[in-house]
Symmetry: C2
Subunit: 204 residues, 2 copies
């Protein structure tokens, strides 16, 4: 058997499936559309991934690992908090700009199967405890205000994700659907989110 050929087809399928699933969701995605985008026969799709659900699960796992990128390495770096936060927000929003449908996809499909979600999180290597500990240390060092460290993290993520997930809405409501103006707004947020958070948590 030629591994090269097999890997190639499988890879093509995974890329195509990710595109279609992220845009249309599980229910809106069509196996035929995925086959077309991969440039293969629909039967071949079922040859590699027996059912739509199995293919979807594979994609969900793959996508989930992308949404929490080098988050952990950043948190564990020994940069000062200000720079750490700035770097995180910037690369995170960068990634979201390239994959604007990603947040909504996760948020929507997350509710499909709670047990599966739990297993995906466990397998993803994301360790919120470690991030919380990082913030706790900064609190004990008197650098930032005492508060629930989970809340700090969730606030940062919320401020980063929401304006992209709600892009079309914000674009229409605040920028008369001018995409350039909206993109500039998001671009600026790479800096202002950090300021906003630091102004709130830093002990002056």
């Amino acid at each position: 058997m030629n591994d090269l050929k097999k890997d190639n087809t499988e890879e093509k399928i995974l890329i195509a499936a990710q595109n279609v699933f992220i845009e249309k969701g599980m229910d809106g995605a069509r196996m035929q559309a995925i086959a077309d985008e991969a440039g293969i026969n629909k039967a071949l799709l079922h040859y590699y991934f027996r059912t739509k659900e199995k293919l979807f699960n594979a994609i969900f796992i793959k996508v989930f690992s992308q949404i929490f990128p080098n988050l952990m390495t950043m948190v564990l770096s020994d940069l000062p908090l200000e720079e750490k936060l700035g770097a995180f927000v910037e690369t995170y929003i960068d990634m979201l700009q390239k994959n604007p449908f990603l947040p909504t996809f996760i948020l929507k499909e997350m509710n499909r199967n709670p047990d599966f979600l739990a297993s995906v999180i466990k397998g993803s290597g994301v360790n919120p405890q470690e991030i919380s500990n990082m913030f706790k240390k900064e609190m004990e060092a008197g650098k930032i205000k005492r508060m629930d460290p989970r809340e700090v993290l969730i606030n940062i993520i919320a401020l980063s994700i929401f304006p992209i997930a709600a892009g079309p809405l914000i674009s229409v409501m605040f920028f008369e659907n001018d995409k350039t103006a909206y993109n500039e707004f998001i671009e600026k947020r790479k800096k202002t989110i950090t300021e906003f958070v630091l102004d709130s948590i830093l002990l002056k």
Copy 2:
């Protein structure tokens, strides 16, 4: 013709459709499921709303008006900013707790038809300009920091909506899927979001 009966059936359909659409989305929703939930025949569904798309559009408009509740009246009240913000966050999160699928529904289905989205927003009576002006006045009065007023509003909404939209994720990652602990967390946020925002924007 008996208006009472007609209104009753139509109302039953609208309620059932809202439940099904919000949980399953446009693609995942089944006309049969809506008919069942409304306790009527599927043909009757098509008698009142000719197509699935027409029914969906009616629901989207209805739901959209719920997600920005008495927002405008709150903004226009002459309470001091601190109380205004506190009241908004509290009632807003209250509403979201009762309709946890609502944000994801809007975020997902928003991309289906941009023109329709724009028309819905225009018709919804939400006026972001007026809210921006309110923040601008507070800036000119030297009460809060000078910044893009749109950003203030979006940050408040992001901090309120995201932790509910991402509920299952947060529940698993931070609370070992303990719903009670998660709910307490959200409950506390009714206060802490306000503090978080005020700490950041207030001029001390």
